[in-house]
Subunit: 410 residues, 2 copies
């Protein structure tokens, strides 16, 4: 029997290419989405650089091209728990892939309203989903998109980041004893905090109800197209370039395409973990195909393929494109520099062959950015969120550049 | 200037005596409550064994007796964030004591609806409060009622439970290094999970916004009256004896008063930490009077005075009263036995002189239970919640006794 996969948030940047990948690989896929990401575009007076089609047109085109039907349920998992349960009971998925969370750190920090929205949406959504899976009585494997941000950066200098569980020694009556604990949480925004909260919900439902859960701690995603979304213009994936939703490398590539200086926050000494969207969808397929056994603890993978500092990324893009680099006051509250050593053996062990920044796909993203540059609103490029009240008071309105480095050339 | 204290959940079992204590000690106190606990009594067809008065009558009587006014704001901090902010901006408290969470583990596990209600109410409420404090721009010390249940039981055999932060060794490039981490969370119910989630929210808002926060990990509260609530019948505190909200020792004392067998779940080998309600209110005053300095991490106290196994408690009560002990299948999913060694030096260092079970207050609770025994609905004594789907299927309806021990005599 074909495995049925329900994809929550299947209209989004990662969800849409995942839905097509799994559908194309022969899974029976259905999408749940409340289209909130499109509504947030309206709120922010912004839109995807790429001209994405309505979910209806997307699915019609996919049907025409692949011959495969992907049902769509328009529902809000945070606000409509009964409809979510009905959907699960009707579709009877073997696995649910859960992307249905507000996923931008800057957006989550804009105002008290955005903090509340992000917590209410993400935490209630995840808890509603877990409670519905228990209530359904079905044996469903839950695959959740977490973030590398749950680990924080630099908690213990020099300690590598393991895949979820950290070996520690704890002092007991009989001396120091080794044990494994969930890696201590050190979130850097309200958004990241919700992902650390998800971990506690997973821990409890796994322990109490035996739910089979895989949590994928993903790095910063770059790229836009996958082999499936590239098959027809109607299937094109989102490309966010704005200060709230744009991820750092995609923002740089887009800025270079339109001749805007690359916007480095602070020194650029922050090291981040990266993954190409093509590898995101491969990883999710691998996770779906390798569920933890019944009775096992929550499975955690680090979904990353390489690490770079923000300054290194900017230099790389500047070399390709001749773009200027401009430093701005960092709107985030974070260390100026950090090391980041990430264990990522599990997906490698399952056969992932990673796409790296040096493989020419940078050019492909620049091509996309150039093709759609007329759709860019340059007023949306700089960050408008501030992490603290003091930062908001200090920087009313726009971010100001603080220094301009020499132009790097290739 | 008199310190202003806002008490969220100030109509409840711990909140009401705390409000009177602080008001009586000269603080300027206001109460916020949405009266949800009274509504849950309606839902469960149950009521406090003691005849508690309306919040209006309570406050009028306190005014008559003490000459002190305690303003009351009827609002739901989870659902009315704007009203909460307005209340904070109007009252300008130096400290907020936060009891405004659904606090019964069995209630949180009844159905998917109760799981969702507990998460939505507790997590959104706490996040709304934190976001409102930041938005107000006021320097407010937040004192939150947590639970010993965040630590779990028996994670590492023989390890004592510290006050919040656990010293561990982590492997780094230069060998094993000592560091302090927030004690790993091991919640035993959805209710307990929400308290572990609160810890993550406190961690983030303390780190990002510098909020001054004290989290009190309280044991199981017993007793009912404090010197303030005992001053007039209109001020009497709640006494819950039912299977959802009744705490174990109060349930035993009440059962003994009406000649009902003591309801021990499982073997009774579970060790729990206890505190008398008189010490709860003293601890909260100590916490309010000793805020962490600006820039300090979240302060965590263990608010407990002694530990006992459930079987030991039952034997103690049986010796006093001649009651029978009856064992029931445990509706919870937990270990049959656990050790529990709790660090509780901080409150002792601040001068707490604990009330213990051996000081005659057991008799006082039995007296209260006898005085109001006509108000008892014996149908509400046994637990009606089950922790897992399988337990619900196995035990349709009522709990069944599994063995009856010999009557213990004193």
């Amino acid at each position: 029997m074909t495995k049925r996969i329900l994809i929550l948030g299947g209209d989004g940047f990662c969800g849409w290419p995942t839905a097509l990948r799994l559908s194309g690989q022969g899974f029976e896929v259905a999408i749940v989405d409340n289209l909130s990401r499109r509504n947030i575009d309206n709120e922010l007076c912004c839109e995807s650089l790429t001209p994405i089609q309505t979910i209806g047109k997307r699915l019609q085109s996919w049907r025409d091209i692949s011959g495969r039907d992907v049902p769509f349920f328009n529902l809000d998992i945070a606000a409509q728990p009964q409809e979510l349960l009905a959907c699960i009971n009707q579709f009877k998925p073997a696995a649910i892939v859960h992307f249905a969370e507000q996923r931008a750190a800057p957006y989550s920090m804009k105002t008290a309203w955005h903090k509340r929205y992000t917590v209410d949406n993400n935490v209630s959504g995840t808890n509603n989903l877990l409670a519905a899976i228990v209530e359904s009585g079905l044996d469903i494997h839950l695959v959740h998109l977490g973030t590398m941000g749950v680990y924080g950066y630099g908690r213990v200098s020099g300690a590598a980041i393991p895949e979820g569980y950290l070996p520690v020694q704890i002092e007991t009556e009989s001396g120091w004893q080794k044990t494994d604990i969930l890696h201590p949480a050190d979130p850097g925004s309200i958004y990241h905090t919700t992902k650390t909260i998800d971990q506690l919900l997973f821990y409890f439902y796994n322990k109490n109800d035996g739910l089979r859960i895989t949590d994928l701690h993903q790095g910063v995603v770059w790229g836009t197209q996958t082999p499936e979304t590239a098959q027809h213009p109607d299937l094109i994936n989102r490309f966010d370039y704005d200060g709230d939703y744009g991820t750092v490398l995609n923002r740089f590539l887009m800025q270079s395409a339109i001749g805007h200086p690359l916007t480095v926050y602070g020194t650029g000494g922050q090291t981040r973990a990266f993954i190409h969207i093509r590898d995101t969808v491969r990883c999710i397929q691998l996770a779906v195909e390798n569920p933890p056994a019944a009775g096992e603890r929550v499975e955690i993978f680090n979904q990353v393929t390489e690490t770079w500092t923000v300054a290194e990324l900017a230099q790389k893009v500047a070399r390709i494109s001749g773009a200027q680099i401009r430093h701005y006051q960092n709107p985030r509250k974070e260390a100026t520099h950090n090391k980041l050593v990430v264990d990522r053996n599990k997906f490698m062990g399952l056969g992932l062959n990673p796409t790296t920044l040096d493989e020419g796909l940078l050019d492909e993203v620049v091509d996309i950015a150039r093709r759609y540059q007329d759709r860019c609103d340059v007023a949306r490029i700089l960050p408008s969120s501030r992490w603290t009240r003091q930062q908001s008071l200090d920087q009313q309105g726009e971010a100001a550049p603080v220094t301009v480095s020499n132009q790097a050339t290739g």
